[in-house]
Each structure stands twice: as structure tokens, then as C-alpha cells.
């Protein structure tokens, strides 16, 4: 039996608590708080404690889905990106760039957040960008 402990960072919020994943035969079975991590010092909130559950959840989306005629259709990443880009172009051409808004997240990294706002302002051409942590 293969048993591994993998250090990681909680992906649920921007706090970034240190966690240890317990992996049995390639399957994530448990989460422990990392005691020596400077952010959380061995403590977690209820979300962090249950990280392994969402990774294994059968409800988890593992590939892009495109909604066509009310049904979700499984597509490849490049198709999904192309469809999204085309739809955005269409909307912007008809209603202007301010008809688009971008909501970024505490669950992604600082750099990804930066990229998202850059994309919103420079590519889409709107200042409609906000963050889910601004409650």
C-alpha cells in the first residue's frame, strides 16, 4: 500500500492555510492542518478540513461544458475557449465593452487576478472588474 503525505495550500480562500494531504494508493483520503505553516499554525476552518471531499466529489466539473439549447455538452478546451471568445466578440460588438463584467476570485493566485484585470481592461476594454472578497 502506498501512503503519502503531501504538503499543499488550501484553495478555498485567499488566506492560504497550509495543509497536508493524506494520499492512499493515489486517492486523497484526508486533510490535516500544517502545524509549522506561518499562516495557520496548525489550524483550519471547516472548509480547509474538508478539502479532500471536494477533490473527490462526483459533482466536480472535470472538463468544460457548453450550454447549447438548454443542455450541457462536453467539449474540448480549445473548442470551449473558441466558443467563449466568439460569444464575447459578438456581445461586445452589439452592446459595447461595458456590457461585460469580470468577477475575479480569492481562490486564484495574485498573479492570476492581475492577469484577469489586465485582460478585462486591455482586451475587453472595460473597467467592470471586481473581486468576490469585496463583500
Amino acid at each position: 500500500m502506498e501512503c503519502k503525505f503531501v504538503p499543499s495550500v488550501c484553495s478555498y480562500c485567499g488566506t492560504g492555510c497550509g495543509v497536508i494531504f493524506q494520499v492512499l494508493d493515489g486517492k486523497l483520503v484526508g486533510t490535516l492542518p500544517m502545524k509549522t505553516h506561518p499562516v495557520n499554525e496548525g489550524k483550519l476552518c471547516i472548509k480547509g478540513w474538508n478539502l479532500h471531499e471536494y477533490v473527490n466529489s462526483f459533482l466536480r466539473l472535470k472538463y468544460p461544458l457548453v450550454k447549447t439549447f438548454g443542455r450541457f455538452i462536453k467539449v474540448r478546451w480549445d473548442e470551449a475557449l473558441q466558443i467563449t471568445a466568439d460569444r464575447f466578440k459578438e456581445i461586445i460588438e452589439t452592446h459595447g465593452p461595458d456590457s461585460v463584467g469580470v468577477l475575479v476570485s480569492a481562490k486564484i493566485t495574485n498573479e492570476e487576478n492581475y492577469l484577469a484585470q489586465k485582460f478585462t481592461r486591455a482586451v475587453i476594454g472595460t473597467n467592470n472588474v471586481d473581486h468576490c472578497a469585496r463583500l
Binding site: M1, C3, K4, P7, K35, K43, I46, W49
Partner: protein
């Protein structure tokens, strides 16, 4: 010590050894296997304590006949005893190897927790109950004040279930803390003091005073003190020090007659 573990693994006395290893700068729990015996040279001791006994119960749940060696401290031996008594682990399949460090109040030196004097310590600015108080010190307050002090502590609870999740002797499949008939759902803090008292009562004859729950509590609630009191009562009533012996716990024996009278619950 390291040679011994290698020998155990090589001879097949154990399939896996649970210890600690530094990974990305952090001392983390680590499972040493027989496929990579050199790995054992990286074993470290005297570091932070994680509930290896609980991890062992998880391994056993997946593979019942797995033979596990593990590094232990005083409290881990008590935890193992409790897990043997409650049939969560089989002493035949567990090989403990004594490491150093102990966070119990039985020892002065707390090697593995923030409780050791001079180390980083608490951020608590205001005490309902002092985390470091002994049972006697906690009892100097008159009943009403004591209750209010505990309530002050309990109301900080964020219901993370960390105290239960980390506890080496919490293994129930269905947990009373999540039972909506016992504890109302949908509120934060959870219903106080019932949430904490339910756990405290269940720790009677179970809690081996390792201190992990208190360390894991984001609200710095002096949980250990609470469970210490519960187990002081157990010792007084049954002459049983939790985890000290391998024979049955007073809570795992089915009695023949009821000796305590039922009491109506006094109105608060």
C-alpha cells in the same frame, strides 16, 4: 533506532513505518516503506506531533491486516491503548517505537506544542478561562462566574470540527456533533454550551490528554482543560486513568444493573 526500523521492514515484521520527515522545510508525517530503505535515514524525531495513531486507523480501515510501525510518545501509547480497547487497532499489528517529546501535563517538557514556555505562545488577549489553568485554578470561580467564563470561551467557536478531526481517539462513524436532534444546525457559533459539552462527555474515558484539539482550535478555547476535568471525574468514579491500561475501559463494559438514579434535568 533507524537500523531497528530498517530491520523491521526488511524482515517483514512491519509493512509500513509512520514517522516524520522534513519536506519543503516542514517536519511532516511520513510513511516509510520497505521499497526504499535509505529513506529511513531522513527520519526525524522530536518535532511536531501529528495524530499518527489516527492515520494508522485509516490505513487499517483500507487494509485490515497491514502491519504498522510508528514512532510514539507517552500520549501516543495511551492513545494506542484506547484504540486497542475500542477495537480500532489490533495490538498484534502495531509496533510502537518510543521517540522523545511529550505534551502531557505529566511531563514538564512539552516538546511538540506551543504550550512550552518561551516559544511563540498564544495570541489570546482576553481570557474567559486561562488555557494554562489547572483544574483547581479553574474552579476558584464561583459557579455562576465560572459558567459565564466558559460561555465566553464557547461562543468563540467557529464550528470547524477541528477538535474532533484531529483527535486520535475520535473514530465514530456517526458523530453526535453533527446530529441535528442533539445540536441545532445552521447557527454560528454552534449551540453553546451543548456542542462543547456533548464532545466533553464523549471524551470521558477516551481523551488521553494529548492537547492536539486545543492546538488545532482556531478560537483558542481551552478544550484540554475541559476534557481533563471530565477525565478527573472518570478517575474519581471508576479508578480508571484513560489509556493507562490495556484492559477494558469502564465505558466499554456492558453492566448488569443500573446503579445511578435518573435525575430530572434542573431548569436553567
Amino acid at each position: 533506532m533507524k537500523n531497528k526500523i530498517k530491520e523491521w521492514l526488511k524482515s517483514g515484521q512491519i509493512d509500513i513505518f509512520l514517522g516524520y520527515k522534513t519536506l519543503q522545510g516542514h517536519p511532516l508525517p511520513h510513511a516509510f516503506g520497505k521499497d526504499n530503505l535509505e529513506d529511513i535515514d531522513t527520519l526525524i524525531t522530536g518535532s511536531n506531533y501529528y495524530p499518527l495513531e489516527k492515520i494508522a486507523t485509516k490505513l487499517v480501515a483500507e487494509k485490515p491486516d497491514i502491519k504498522i510501525g510508528m514512532i510514539t510518545q507517552d500520549h501516543s501509547q495511551r492513545a494506542l491503548n484506547v484504540l486497542y480497547i475500542w477495537n480500532q487497532l489490533d495490538p498484534e499489528n502495531i509496533k510502537p517505537l518510543k521517540g522523545d517529546g511529550c505534551s502531557s501535563n505529566l511531563k514538564e517538557h512539552a516538546d511538540d506544542s506551543h504550550r512550552e514556555a518561551g516559544k511563540s505562545g498564544q495570541f489570546k488577549k482576553q481570557f474567559g478561562m486561562n488555557t494554562h489553568a489547572s483544574i483547581e485554578e479553574a474552579e476558584i470561580f464561583a459557579q455562576q462566574e465560572r459558567f459565564q467564563r466558559w460561555m465566553y470561551e464557547f461562543q468563540k467557536c467557529i464550528k470547524c470540527y477541528g477538535c474532533r478531526n484531529i483527535c486520535p481517539v475520535c473514530f465514530c462513524k456517526q458523530c453526535s456533533l453533527e446530529h441535528s436532534n442533539l445540536i441545532g444546525t445552521g447557527s454560528l457559533p454552534p449551540e453553546a454550551p451543548i456542542y462543547h459539552l456533548v464532545r466533553a462527555v464523549h471524551m470521558a474515558g477516551r481523551c488521553i490528554d494529548c492537547g492536539l484539539c486545543e492546538e488545532a482550535c482556531p478560537a483558542d478555547i481551552p478544550l484540554r482543560l475541559l476534557y481533563r476535568k471530565v477525565n478527573a471525574i472518570v478517575t474519581e468514579l471508576f479508578d480508571y486513568e484513560t489509556g493507562s491500561r490495556l484492559d477494558q475501559s469502564p465505558f466499554s463494559i456492558i453492566g448488569e444493573s443500573i446503579t445511578l438514579k435518573l435525575k430530572p434535568i434542573a431548569a436553567a
